[in-house]
């Protein structure tokens, strides 16, 4: 092992597993998967994972960390705090008369983020437990109007009394300040923050014009409150992590992954923990984008099928798509994040027979990891994973690399529960479960592509996650896609950690504006200049040279008053003149027509730029030579190992070759029917399909032309 190795380390803490990846500059990728340790401190699991990585690298943990260029980390701590309601006790300071916005949730709190087929039901929908109870909300007498004028001034002494009253409760652990129109005129919010800092030094405080400077008091308040809600615990955790890895030899403070697909230094993440919520899945899409670039794929549909959900994100022209609106536990807020859509469809999805129609339904109920599929030994309901075991797609003795033994008899018994009422054999029922589940997955992909004006045939489908490569043949076949990439083969189940390791520093800054077509270039340029100045100042304050910061500008556009629309269009660098302004209007027209059809374009409605988003990026350098050490044997591979698999498309047991994924190197191919076993998943290759390795280390499944 040469001393000159430089490691890029990525750590992704999930609900069940903590994944660690180290990539060295030679391109070697090391993986470790270890149970998460949420019950004590998640740092324990991280340290175990780092030890496993070091062992695989043949060095000590200290050596690994000392040789690391950096360690980047994605955490679900923020999401967990919210979902489990274990965050800080937040006191909210809001404009008098509008203090109930957070409770009223625009009337949509009962159904926001709920699956579309569930929203009909009053019985099964409820508003979430309040993040801030009404009793910890304090009304501040002040009012700013839409143009930033002060309609009612804030009396600082009255405000101070209100803050003291709140603090006197004795249970406030963090403060959120969200006043009306503060992003137009932040004077009251700033003074209020000063007052809070004087009255409660050291208190975690979020102010809305900084946390989420967007129009719409409900969503801005949610963002601000969530930031404070997760702030103190996230901050403590990040300190603990930073000192633990620092003590073990990491020279540079860790970077923290955000939902926007980039990392930030610990100090920034501590002030803006909101941006880290949802960072794990974003890591998967960031990893996809990185591998896609190395593989020459500019358009990618990234799919992640895990135990409970199926997530889809897109890479277009090499970049993952961003979205603004996010819903967490039925609370809606605005925060630029990688656009990932999800449905309840995964290995744990439960199959049942609709008693009246006799149809075979799968999901949306999931056995999750507790009790889990019947074959885990604790559950009894038939799940997709049980169907996989019954069919032979998954080897019960080789699950998680053989570390967990599955109970095939339990799976058979469970699937029997749906097979019997349907008059099917247990294998037929299992095949049906896989088909129905795959159809749901394919429908989501179709909704994210064809329904958005994109043709999936222009995309390469990537399949990862524990249950993705097993079922890719089925949902890709349903879509008519010809090729599926299992990114990094063995690494497909730790792709998020890989993406986190590879990510640059990214921060997004936004500002509302109201510039209507025909666009005044000076007005656009003024907003852009202001946001860019803010971005550069912030990155400099975080320790980066201004010269290293690369800025990208995006105009968020819509027809005036189309408040549910957000069409992002990139703005060119350099000066914004008349030509650029006219071009922007033309591009909006073209993009709108492409997305929604020529007939949808409105000739009577004004087009407007309603916000400018600036993405500030600092490249951290990630230049490992992707690919494998030397070409493998190449050519057509065969295997001595065989087992019978009941292939859903064929409806019969077929003797099927079993391969070890590690053997499929660049240029090697296998012909279906085959099962390729990877440490944490398996790739199913039906008859007529082929699988080959490429130079990047991906496995490429080529579907039979049907």
């Amino acid at each position: 092992m040469p001393d000159t190795n430089i490691y890029y380390v990525g750590v992704d803490i999930g609900g069940t597993f903590t994944d660690c990846v180290a990539v060295d500059d030679g391109g070697r990728v090391l993986h470790a998967k270890t149970p998460s340790t949420h019950s004590t401190t998640p740092v324990d699991g991280v340290l175990v994972g780092l030890d496993l990585l070091a062992a695989e690298a043949g060095v000590s943990t200290g050596e690994l960390l000392a040789q690391a260029d950096r360690l980047s980390h994605g955490t679900t701590i923020g999401t967990n705090l919210v979902v489990e309601r274990k965050g800080a006790k937040v006191g909210l300071l809001a404009t008098q008369g509008h203090h109930d916005a957070l409770l009223m949730m625009r009337g949509a709190g009962r159904t926001a983020g709920i699956a579309i087929d569930q929203v009909y039901s009053v019985h099964r929908t409820a508003k979430p437990v309040p993040i801030v109870p009404r009793g910890r909300t304090v009304q501040i007498s002040e009012r700013v109007t839409a143009n930033g004028d002060t309609l009612a001034p804030m009396d600082d002494e009255a405000a101070r009394e209100a803050v003291r009253g709140l603090l006197a409760r004795g249970d406030v652990e963090a403060i959120a300040i969200a006043l009306m129109w503060s992003f137009r005129n932040p004077a009251h919010e700033r003074r209020l923050r000063d007052i809070v800092e004087e009255e409660a030094p050291g208190m975690f405080v979020s102010v809305s014009h900084e946390t989420s400077p967007r129009q719409g008091e409900y969503e801005r308040t949610v963002a601000t409150v969530l930031n404070s809600y997760v702030g103190p615990a996230s901050s403590r955790y990040l300190d603990e992590l930073a000192s633990a890895v620092g003590e073990r030899g990491l020279a540079r403070a860790p970077f923290i992954m955000q939902a926007n697909g980039g990392v930030v230094p610990v100090a920034v993440a501590q002030a803006r923990p909101l941006t880290t919520i949802g960072s794990g899945p974003a890591g998967g899409l960031a990893g996809t984008a990185f591998i896609a670039a190395a593989s020459g794929h500019s358009h990618v549909i990234a799919t992640d099928m895990g135990g409970t959900s199926f997530e889809v994100g897109l890479v277009v022209d090499g970049a993952p798509l961003l979205s603004g609106e996010e819903v967490l536990d039925q609370y809606t807020f605005q925060m630029p994040h990688l656009d990932l859509r999800s449905i309840a469809c995964g290995g744990g999805s439960i199959a049942h027979v609709d008693p009246h129609s006799g149809g075979l339904r799968v999901g949306p109920e999931s056995a999750g990891s507790h009790p889990g599929p019947a074959c885990y030994g604790t559950g009894t309901e038939p799940t997709v994973t049980d169907a996989d075991v019954v069919l032979g797609l998954i080897d019960p003795d080789m699950f998680l690399g053989g570390r967990m033994r599955l109970d095939r008899d339990a799976a058979v018994r469970a699937v029997q529960r749906v097979a019997e009422p349907l008059g099917l054999s247990v294998e037929e029922a299992a095949a049906g479960i896989v088909q129905v589940n795959s159809f749901s997955a394919a429908t989501l992909i179709r909704q994210q592509t064809i329904e958005q004006g994109l043709d999936p045939r222009d995309f390469v489908l990537y399949a990862f996650g524990g249950a993705g490569p097993v079922h890719a043949f089925a949902f890709a076949g349903e879509l008519g896609v010809g090729e599926v990439v299992i990114p990094l083969g063995n690494g497909a189940s730790t792709l998020s950690a890989y993406g986190i390791a590879a990510s640059d520093v990214v921060r997004t800054f936004e500002q509302e504006c109201r510039v209507r077509a025909p666009f005044d270039p000076a007005a656009l340029a003024a907003v852009v200049a202001e946001v860019e100045a803010r971005a550069l100042d912030a990155l400099e304050a975080a320790g980066f040279d201004r010269e290293r910061v690369v800025l990208e500008r995006t105009a968020l556009m819509r027809y005036a008053e189309q408040f549910l629309q957000e069409l992002p269009l990139e703005l060119p660098r350099g000066e914004l003149g008349e030509a650029e302004a006219q071009d922007l209007a033309r591009r909006f027209d073209a993009e709108y027509a492409r997305l929604y059809g020529e007939g949808a374009r409105a000739v009577f409605h004004a087009v407007e730029v309603f916000a400018i988003r600036v993405t500030a990026r600092v490249e951290l350098g990630f230049a490992p030579q992707l690919g494998q050490d030397g070409a493998g044997p190449g050519g057509e591979l065969t295997s001595d190992r065989q087992r019978d698999v009941f292939w859903p498309g064929e409806g019969r047991w077929v003797a099927t070759a079993i391969h070890d994924g590690a053997a499929i190197t660049d240029g090697a191919t296998i012909a279906g029917p085959a099962i390729v076993e990877l440490p944490h998943t398996a790739v199913a290759v039906p008859a007529g399909h082929r699988l080959r390795g490429d130079r990047v280390g991906n496995l490429i499944l080529t579907l039979a032309r049907s």
Binding site: T111, K127, A158, Q215, L360
Partner: protein, 765 residues
């Protein structure tokens, strides 16, 4: 105008009318059991015999998804905020003869609207202008299938070969389709000739070619032709895309298979509904509700009534007891039946996610024409989307709740709370500083409130059961568009309004002033003189929702001094008398107005509310300590329930109800007793309540209870209204029907003072 109802005899089921009686011209269109179809119209009605369960599920899911995607596409493409935010639109997939297969997750009272229009087209157009591949029909005729004129449907037949395979359709609430009032809610219409034109089904697209003559004609009647035409193009695109998906599905799996899945989906829904009816005894349940002023200036109070009878495995719905049609407070059969079907399916089968067609097979309507809720031509109906249709939803969901509350525990759990009886809103408009006209239909009522339920409280600002995903505006989004400042928008305090064993969800109040130097007016406002929302089995009514305006206040000076007003009532100033339905009036500097979106009715007697739930509301600062004691007789000490003091206070409150007599304890009902609602049972053919005999089940138990009656504005201080509303308010009384043993409320009733107690539960004997 109003008739006195002394209707205490057992309702006799009305007869069904002869075919052709419901003609769609004088009377609403109601199709007969078999449709009169021309012989040259080839229907695809064959089905595959054995569809395997996997194919079945794949095809079902694909059809469901196609309908969801139709909805999503419309929402993205439409420019009307009413479509975009309030989800006042609907999509559906229907069989070849127009029976519903899937209804989208949008406005639920469009339930059978498409079905009615399609059946009308098949009966009245197929033989003349023809129903052919590539056609689309447009209709907004309330006497055919539209709830009111802005709700315009586009109906598209789907052919496979030369056989009519199925239909796909959408309805959008178009922003303005003409009529006397901007926005097309014509409160002052005395008949439909002051309203937007009602279009019986006309062919908009003929064999794939858009008919420009019809398209332009439809746009011509609107004040907002650009928006209307844009939305119409979205509607066309939505139908085309969905038709293609259905055809692709039939191509792949076979038309007979897809049709088999449609039929089976309906059969399954029907079977589920029959199963859920099983534990409910045969009988008839009724609910009355009220409107004030048929047109501005009218001072009468009008009665609506909905009756649902269960006979074995089906329901029969009628409207007897309703007043004759009047002014603009009517609906036709389409809105009436649509609202009733929505209340039934959302209560009993919402787990079918819109696959409701099979349920409809078991529900028969036998309305009487010429009444407010099944009006004859040319009655005006255009404002009903904000008024009368919501009233029907409210009545219907209350009737269904009473019916379900006579069934087993599983049936009782299906009860959803009463909804809000009007769509309280304002429309403001004017000209801004730059001379640009503006109009703001305030749809913040989307905030909503769900009523109390048997197992839980209603939901504060919980939306509406009949429009699952509606979204209110942000205040900032309003102020960005219009020269208004919304001074406050906050939850109503919990109080006597909506109080119950499970309280109603809280509504909200919103107060506004103008900003800038333009000219502004309030063009439409709805206000109450008395509460109209009620809740079953002993709850208080929901909030009385007056519309309050004060002219010439010092609001701007107060604001400049840093004072934010709490409510309009806090200001000195001249209170403008605003009746239930008003003519437009100007507003300017110094004027403040507020509208109330009421707290919903609760469920059960407030004195039976869990004291700890009262404590929790106090802790959440939704309710104050004094009100907790006054309304619920719950006493708190240091934030905890004082159990002994509460017990004493509650006993005293019950004694007061009994006229000072010491109340008895609750008595467990004998084995085999049939429970009716909360406290009432049937034992051996007699009404029974805590051991008291309330007469034969063939009579009205209310006659044997202890009855207390107060004026509607004197139920509690929360129900007080301004002086100018007293005359109207005093036409109404509130009655408590009390258990003579315990003093608990068996039920309550908000009634016109001249009406006898309604016999609202009639069980078959």
């Amino acid at each position: 105008m109003a008739i006195t109802d002394t209707h205490t005899d057992a309702p006799v089921l009305p007869d069904a009318h002869e075919p052709g009686f419901w003609d769609g011209r004088l009377r609403s269109y109601i199709p007969g059991k078999t449709l009169a179809l021309p012989e040259n119209l080839a229907l695809h009605d064959s089905t595959a015999a054995d569809v395997d369960p996997v194919t079945h599920e794949v095809v079902r899911y694909a059809l469901l998804a196609a309908n969801f995607e139709h909805s999503a596409l419309l929402q993205r493409l439409c420019v009307s905020p009413i479509t975009m935010l309030t989800r006042d639109f609907q999509t559906s997939v229907l069989t070849e003869v127009g029976d519903l297969v899937f209804l989208g997750p949008n406005l639920q009272y469009f339930s059978n609207s498409h079905s009615l229009s399609i059946k009308y087209i098949l009966e009245k157009r197929a033989a003349s202008i023809g129903v052919n591949p590539g056609d689309m029909f447009l209709s907004n005729d309330p006497y055919v299938g539209a709830p009111h004129q802005p709700d315009t449907a586009l109906l598209s037949p789907v052919f496979i070969g030369d056989e009519l395979f199925c239909w796909v359709a959408n309805t959008l609430h178009y922003s303005d389709v003409g009529g006397s009032t901007a926005g097309s809610f014509c409160l002052d219409a005395i008949d439909t000739f002051q309203e937007p034109l009602s279009w019986p089904p006309v062919k908009l697209i003929d064999g794939g070619r858009i008919r420009d003559d019809v398209f332009e004609l439809f746009g011509r009647q609107s004040r907002l032709p650009g928006a209307v035409e844009m939305d119409m193009r979205a509607a066309i695109a939505g139908n085309e895309a969905t038709r293609s998906k259905v055809l692709a599905l039939a191509e792949r799996y076979g038309a007979d298979t897809v049709k088999a899945v449609m039929r089976n989906t309906m059969d399954a829904a029907e079977a589920l509904f029959v199963e859920r009816l099983a534990s409910i005894p045969d009988g008839t349940w009724s609910q009355r509700g009220y409107a004030e002023s048929a047109v501005p200036g009218d001072d009468a109070v009008y009665t609506y009534q909905i009756n649902i009878s269960k006979q074995g495995d089906r329901l029969i719905v009628d409207n007897h007891g309703t007043d004759p049609q009047a002014g603009s407070i009517n609906v036709t059969y389409a809105a009436f039946s649509g609202a009733v079907l929505a209340a039934i399916t959302q209560s009993m089968t919402s787990d079918l996610s819109g696959a409701y067609g099979g349920v409809y097979r078991r529900i028969e309507f036998r309305p009487e024409p010429g009444l407010l809720n099944c009006a004859e031509y040319p009655a005006a109906v255009s404002p009903s989307g904000a008024t009368t249709t919501e009233t029907q939803l409210h009545l219907a969901v209350c009737v269904v709740a009473k019916m379900l509350s006579c069934g087993d525990d599983a049936a009782r759990e299906l009860v959803i709370g009463p909804c809000i009886p009007h769509w309280y809103c304002t429309i403001c408009g004017g000209v801004d500083e730059e001379g640009t006209p503006w109009i703001f239909p305030n749809t913040n009522g989307m905030m909503g409130a769900l009523g109390g339920m048997p197992e839980r409280d209603g939901v504060d600002a919980g939306g509406h059961f009949w429009i699952p995903e509606g979204l209110a505006n942000n205040v900032e989004d309003i102020e960005a568009q219009f020269p208004l400042v919304i001074l406050y928008r906050k939850l109503l305090d919990a109080g006597a309004d909506g109080a119950g064993r499970h309280r109603g969800g809280l509504g909200f109040v919103e107060g506004a002033i103008t900003s800038g130097s333009g000219a502004s007016q309030v063009a439409l406002a709805l206000g109450d003189s008395f509460a109209k929302g009620v809740g079953p089995f002993g709850s208080n009514p929901g909030t009385v929702a007056p519309f309050l305006v004060k002219h010439g206040t010092d609001v701007l000076e107060r604001l400049a001094a840093g004072e934010i007003p709490g409510r309009v009532a806090d200001f000195p100033g001249e209170l403008r008398p605003v009746e239930a339905k008003v003519a437009p009036f100007a507003v300017g500097d110094g004027d403040v107005w507020e509208f109330v979106f009421p707290t919903a009715g609760g469920f059960g007697d407030p004195l039976r509310r869990e004291p700890d739930a009262v404590r929790a509301d106090v802790e959440e600062r939704l309710l104050d300590v004094a009100t907790a004691e006054r309304v619920y007789a719950v006493l708190l000490r240091d934030g905890a329930v004082d159990a002994a003091a509460t017990e004493d206070a509650r006993r005293a409150a019950r004694a007061a109800r009994l006229g000072g007599r010491e109340p008895g304890d609750e008595v467990t009902a004998p084995a085999g007793a049939q429970r009716v609602g909360e406290l009432l049972y049937v034992v051996d053919g007699r009404w029974w309540c805590n051991g008291a005999d309330l007469g034969a089940v063939t009579a009205n138990y209310k006659d044997e209870t202890l009855v207390r009656e107060v004026r509607a504005r004197e139920i509690a201080p929360e129900f007080a209204v301004p002086d100018y509303a007293h005359e109207m308010a005093d036409r109404m009384v509130f009655r408590e029907y009390l258990c003579p043993v315990t003093g608990y409320r068996i039920d309550t009733e908000l009634s016109r003072a001249d009406q006898a107690p309604l016999r609202d539960i009639v069980l078959a004997t």
